[in-house]
Structure formats: C-alpha cells, structure tokens
C-alpha cells in the first residue's frame, strides 16, 4: 500500500531537525514545567519522552504545537521558528493524538476525520479516498466511520484519533499517552499495530509515555525527564546499564517489575 503524499515538507527538512527546542523555560504559576531545556528531534526518527507525572514531558509536546508559548527560549519546526502568525499552518504539518483520543462527541468518526480537510477545501472524493487509505492502515472497519465516538470501543477511538491526526498527511506525529486509557489486551495489540504503522509511515514521531517498556518498544531514543529537565537521553540499554543517576536507576527498576518485558 502506498500513501498519497501531499507533503508540505521542504527539501531542507531532511537535513535539519524536524523539531528544535532551544533553552526553553515554561512556568505555570509557581511550578517550573520546563526548565532551560534544549532538545532536537531528527526527521524520520521515533523518540519517546518518559518520566513521572509532572516531569514536563507533555508540556514539551504542547510547546511544539504552539498550544503553549515558552516564557524564554525558542521552538522551531522544520527550521521555521514557531510564531503566532504561522502557528495554524505549522500545526497542520503535525498530527496530534492524546489519551482517549480527544474525539469530538457531536460528530461521527467520519465527521471528526473530515473537519480539517473540509476547512482545507478538499472535495468529498478526496476525503473519501484518504479516509479509506487510513482505515486500511489502522485496520478500522469502515462501518465504524458512521458511528459516534460514544458508540466506539476504546481501541477504535484511538484508531480514529490517529487517522484524524494523519488526514492531511503531516510530517510528524506527536502522541501523548495514546494508549494510556486502554485495557491491557487492547493496549498490547495496539502497541504492535502502532509500531507497524510508524514503520510504514516513516515520519518523525514523538511519543510521551510514563511506561518504560512501551517507550523501549516504540523508540530507538528515550528521553527521561524529571522536573522539567532531561536527566538522560539515549537508548533503552543505556538507561538500563548506565543510569545517569540514582533516579534513573530507580525509574528503570520500578518499571522492570511489570510483567510484560520488552522484546
């Protein structure tokens, strides 16, 4: 299967970072969510941001989408600095999937998928074609497209949310605990499928999770965060065999007690 490419990606972006964060700080009241952070995400790679709740990993995604603006520092996408004037266009180059999907309950699955393409002026045939491709990619039964989110299973909702993020064929996918609300069996199946999908798409993927085995399953690069700063940045084996500090060791040890072990 091939995907119709309507890429907005310019030729340079293959060589520059897909996303770059430079000395960014972000404070919510008295809490320092992100503290003087610098991170680069290479185009076409899959990175997992891990850490406990409140470590700032979700804030990183929100900064990359311009849903939050840094107090200090800069964020750029594909070499373009993120500015309020272009944020809408830049967001359309990035798919965003959150826990439980964030589907609009008043629209059917199809309605959720068509929202952005409608605005972009796509005709019905083009929307239908793209929907069919993505339904095949995500193994969503076509009948489910007519249903409302409340009528879908948790796994189907995540598939629709992923399709919605991919409709305009973005360069990158940002996923915030995408499998967090699923029961273990569905979660296990979707982990398999998502890994296959990421491989097929060959896009820049940044995934936020607090589950170390899941992070290791998806990503070659793990970024462990704590209190708004990066504690360790490397592959799973680095974290396991050479923890940067006692916290990393504890984090790895705590995760290893889970019954499921990464393959």
């Amino acid at each position: 299967m091939t995907l119709t490419r309507v890429a907005l990606q310019d030729s340079e972006s293959a060589t520059t970072s897909a996303f770059a964060i430079r000395q960014v700080s972000k404070r919510y009241g008295s809490v320092m969510a992100v503290d003087n952070l610098s991170l680069d995400f290479e185009a076409g790679t899959t990175t997992a941001l891990i850490g406990s709740s409140g470590s700032g990993k979700s804030t990183v995604l929100r900064l990359l989408l311009g849903l939050e603006w840094p107090d200090r520092g800069t964020v750029s996408i594909g070499g373009h600095p993120l500015e309020p004037g272009q944020v809408l266009q830049l967001r359309r180059r990035v798919g965003y999937v959150i826990q439980e999907g964030g589907l609009f309950p008043h629209l059917t699955a199809q309605g959720n998928l068509a929202l952005l393409p409608h605005y972009l002026g796509w005709d019905a045939a083009r929307i239908g074609q793209r929907t069919k491709e993505l339904a095949e990619l995500t193994h969503l039964p076509l009948a489910a497209l007519e249903r409302y989110p409340a009528e879908l299973s948790g796994g189907q909702r995540q598939r629709v949310a992923l399709m919605r993020g991919l409709m305009a064929d973005p360069d990158a996918l940002l996923l915030d605990e995408p499998l967090g609300a699923l029961d273990p069996i569905v979660r296990y199946e979707l982990q398999d499928e998502l890994k296959r999908i990421f491989a097929e798409l060959n896009k820049t993927v940044i995934l936020v999770t607090h589950d170390l085995p899941e992070a290791a399953w998806f990503a070659e690069r793990l970024v462990l965060m704590r209190k708004g700063a990066v504690i360790q940045d490397g592959c799973f084996e680095d974290l396991r065999d050479h923890p940067a500090d006692a916290f990393v060791a504890r984090f790895v040890a705590a995760q290893r007690q889970l019954p499921r072990v990464p393959r």
Binding site: R91, L107, Y148, E151
Partner: protein, 483 residues
C-alpha cells in the same frame, strides 16, 4: 412613537387610567366619536397619571380623561391651587394640549372609614383622626406619593399615624371592609361608598382641591377631527356626581361592561368593540402576548449569544457583561416597563424593550457557561488540528455548548411569558389585560382569563423548547448523556 398626526384615516386614540371611572369616561369618549362618525380606539387602563400625561404629550394617545386637581397639583408647575379651567386652558395651550369644560362632577379625594367604626370612635372630621394614633391606613399607591396626597395631608392635619401602607385602590375597599385597615383614600364618586356603608370624613381644613372631571386632548385634533372635539365639549356639564356614581356602580357592582354603560348614557346601542366574545378576546391576547415574547426573545438571542461568546473569550469583558446583565435582572419589572416609556412611548415596543433586557442574562450566562465548560482536551484537540478560531467556534465549540445555550433561551422564554403579563400596564395588551381589569373590578373570573392562558403558554413554551432541544442537540451528545 413621535409620529406626527396623520390625516383622519388614522383612528383617534383614547387613553384611560387604571380605575373604573377613567375607563368609563374613555368609553364615553369613544361612544361620542362613534356618534359623530369618527373612528376611535380606546387603550384601556394604560397606567397611572404620569404614564397617561406623558403619552398625551408624546402623541401616543390623543385624548384622556383627567381631573383639574391633578393638573394643578401634580402635572403643571406654578399654578395656583384653585386655578379655574380657563386659566388651565391658557397654561396647557403652549404644550399643544386642549381641555374641555368640567364634565359636571367633582371627584375629589376623601378619607373614608367604616360608618360603624367611625361612630364608635367618634370620628366625623379628618382632624378627629389626630386623637387616634393607632389607626391603620391603607392608601392607593398614587395617593401615597402625590403632592396632593398623603404627605401633604399628614402635614396639614399633623396626623400621627405610623401604620400606613400603599395598596391597589380596588383592594383597599376589601381591606377596609374586612377590618385589615381602618381608613382609606376614596374618590367621592366611588360606587363602593354606599355599598360598603362607608363614612367620608369632613375635610375641615380644606386640604383636598377640587377634582373637576375634564378631557385633555391634543390640539391637533381641532384640525384633524374637529367634530370629535365638538362632541367631547358637548359632554361638558352633562354628568353630575349622581350620574357618575351610578355608572361606576353599574360597572363595579353589577358587572356591566363599561362600553354598555357609556352607550346607555348617550342613548346609543353598544357596539361589539368594547366586549368581543371570549374566544376572539383570547385569540387577540394570545397574539399580542406571543408577539411580545417572540420579538423580545429573538432580538435577545441575536445579541446575547455573541456577547456570551465574547464573554467566554475575554475574561475581564465577560465579568463586566455578566455583571451588567445581572444588574438589569434586578430592576423590578414594573419599574423596567415604566423606564422604557420615555424611550419608546407606550404600547408594544417599550414592553418588548423591557422583556429584551430581561432575556439577556440567562442567554449570555448559559452561552458563557456552555463554552467555558467544554472539556479542555476537546478545545485543545480542535486547536491542535490547525483550525482557525472562527471554524473552531462554529464547528466544535458552539455545537458542544448547544444544550446549555438552549437551556438559557428556554429560561428566558418562560420568564418572558410571565413578565409580559405586566406589559398591559403600559398599553401593550396581552394576557395581563384581563388580569388588570379583574383586579380593578374584583372579578376572579377575569383574572383567571389572563392567568390561566399565561400559565398554559409558559407550559407550551417549555414543552416546545424541550422538543427543539431534542432536535438540535447533536445525536452524539445525546449518546454521551445517556452513558
């Protein structure tokens, strides 16, 4: 509102105050017009003196019955208290207002008590009241405040009574008869004086001025309807105190229609206009009432939803808007209706304006609450898609807030149906009309004729909105609510 008088094709508009004698005199004017072949409409019981006077000055009505004492003490400044009608005529002319000669009776204020009670306490004159400081007074609301009413009376006679309440004039008689109050203000032509065996106390210090009944009219009528003005002037001197008390008694005590009483006085056959059949009355009032509710509600929706959206977007602005509309809500409805008169005259438009202002708060507040209450992950998902704010509002946020907004509109509509009954006070008609008349004539049947349809209409509106809610709420949201 301030339209100039058009040619004689427009019917002459007669107004009357909110008590029986005024309505009868209004009907007499209408019957006289009919006698000389002039088209006339009677806007019954529009309200108190101030409302009628302003309506006449602004040209919302052309004629209404008034009393000389009210002109000298209340309406005209710097006029001697005993000014005669030619003096008044000269003073009214610059205002564009004409005045007939006295119709023939003096309906002055008086203070009345139950005859047996007055005898027991040995009270015959108003000065005698000074010796009984514990007596309870129930005065009509207008009398409580007028220059020639209670404040002046208390000063002139140095009256010590503390328990003084304002109440509707028609209800005051019943309060007196049942012993709830000891003395009330009367009009000397009231039919109830003999009926309730009342004693009118001597005004021994000559406090109350003369209240000769007259018609006030706009001077333009002398050009546009000279025959009507002549007919009004022919009524002068024809109605003595006895005749007026008799007409009042027929209406109040025997339940005869004012129009019939007036026609009988002139020796005419009554026409149908004064008292249409129950069903056509109901139909007309339903049309008037729903018109008030629908127009005010429609305009409110047009303004309140955008205001609610802005309030949800701009926190500071939102606090101000919700605060201001909240203040509007606290204005007593009667006052709100009267405030609108200088801006919109009398009739349907000031009522619509008042109802419009009352409708704003529930709709603004619910629009605001509906938008602010959207789960943050949903508004954020819409933003993350890269949709501009306008599209997000139309396609995501407003649909998600539909229920809350509709609930606000429903609240406004139901409140409006009830509040619109007060619109009759400023000549807008509707279900309030029979309620007002019923209170005036002490006729429970008439009150129910307005109250029951108003309650039914409120229920129908409520039911309709539940239907609309079911129809407009997106199916997906109903599924969510069911789970």
């Amino acid at each position: 509102m301030l339209l100039p008088m058009a040619g004689h094709a427009d019917p002459v508009r007669i107004g009357s105050k909110q008590f029986t004698e005024s309505v009868i005199l209004g009907e007499l004017a209408r019957a006289s017009a009919r006698q000389v072949g002039i088209d006339a409409v009677h806007k019954r019981q529009l309200g108190g003196t101030r409302i009628l006077w302003r309506a006449l000055l602004q040209g919302d009505i052309d004629v209404y019955p008034e009393y000389t004492g009210t002109l000298t003490h209340e309406l005209l400044k710097n006029v001697p208290a005993n000014a005669d009608i030619p003096t008044l005529r000269a003073r009214l002319k610059p205002l564009g207002i004409g005045i007939t000669d006295s119709l023939g009776f003096n309906n002055t204020y008086a203070i009345g008590m139950r005859a047996d009670e007055a005898k027991r306490l040995g009270i015959a004159r108003i000065s005698d009241l000074r010796r009984h400081s514990g007596l309870r007074f129930g005065f009509s609301n207008e009398f409580m405040d007028r220059n020639d009413g209670w404040p002046g009376l208390r000063r002139r006679y140095d009256l010590p009574q503390k328990d003084v309440r304002g109440m509707d004039h028609a209800l005051a008689y019943r309060a007196l008869a049942s012993g709830a109050v000891d003395a009330i203000d009367l009009y000397s032509t009231d039919a109830e004086i003999p009926y309730y065996h009342l004693r009118t106390l001597d005004d021994d210090l000559h406090y109350f001025p003369r209240y000769e009944a007259v018609y006030l009219y706009r001077l333009q009528l002398e050009q546009s309807a000279p025959r009507f003005v002549a007919a009004l002037n022919r009524l002068a001197g024809r109605i003595d105190e006895q005749a007026m008390r008799g007409m009042n008694a027929r209406v109040k005590l025997q339940g005869v229609e004012e129009g019939v009483v007036a026609a009988d006085f002139l020796g005419l056959r009554a026409d149908a206009d004064g008292h249409p059949e129950l069903w056509s009355r109901l139909l007309q009032r339903t049309l008037e009432h729903t018109k008030l509710v629908l127009i005010s509600l429609g305009l409110a929706v047009l303004l309140a939803i955008p205001l609610g959206v802005l309030a949800a977007r701009l926190r500071r602005f939102g606090q101000i808007v919700i605060g201001l509309t909240g203040i509007l809500q606290t204005v007593p409805s009667l006052a709100m209706f009267v405030f609108m008169i200088p801006l919109f005259g009398i009739g349907a438009w000031p009522a619509i304006a008042a109802l419009f202002l009352y409708s704003l708060l529930p709709i603004v507040r619910n629009t605001h609450a509906g938008l602010v209450g959207i789960a943050p992950e949903l508004s954020e998902s819409a933003a993350a898609l890269g949709l501009p704010p306008g599209v997000r509002l139309r396609r995501v946020e407003l649909p998600l807030a539909t229920r809350s907004i509709l609930a606000g509109i429903k609240t406004a509509a139901v409140i409006n149906v009830g509040t619109a009954t007060l619109a009759a006070l400023i000549g807008a008609g509707g279900y309030g009309q029979p309620i007002l008349t019923g209170i005036r004539l002490d006729d429970i049947g008439l009150i129910l004729e307005g109250a029951v349809p108003a309650a039914l209409l409120a229920l129908i509106v409520q039911g309709m909105f539940e239907g609309i809610e079911r129809w407009l709420t997106p199916r997906g949201l109903r599924l969510v609510a069911r789970q």
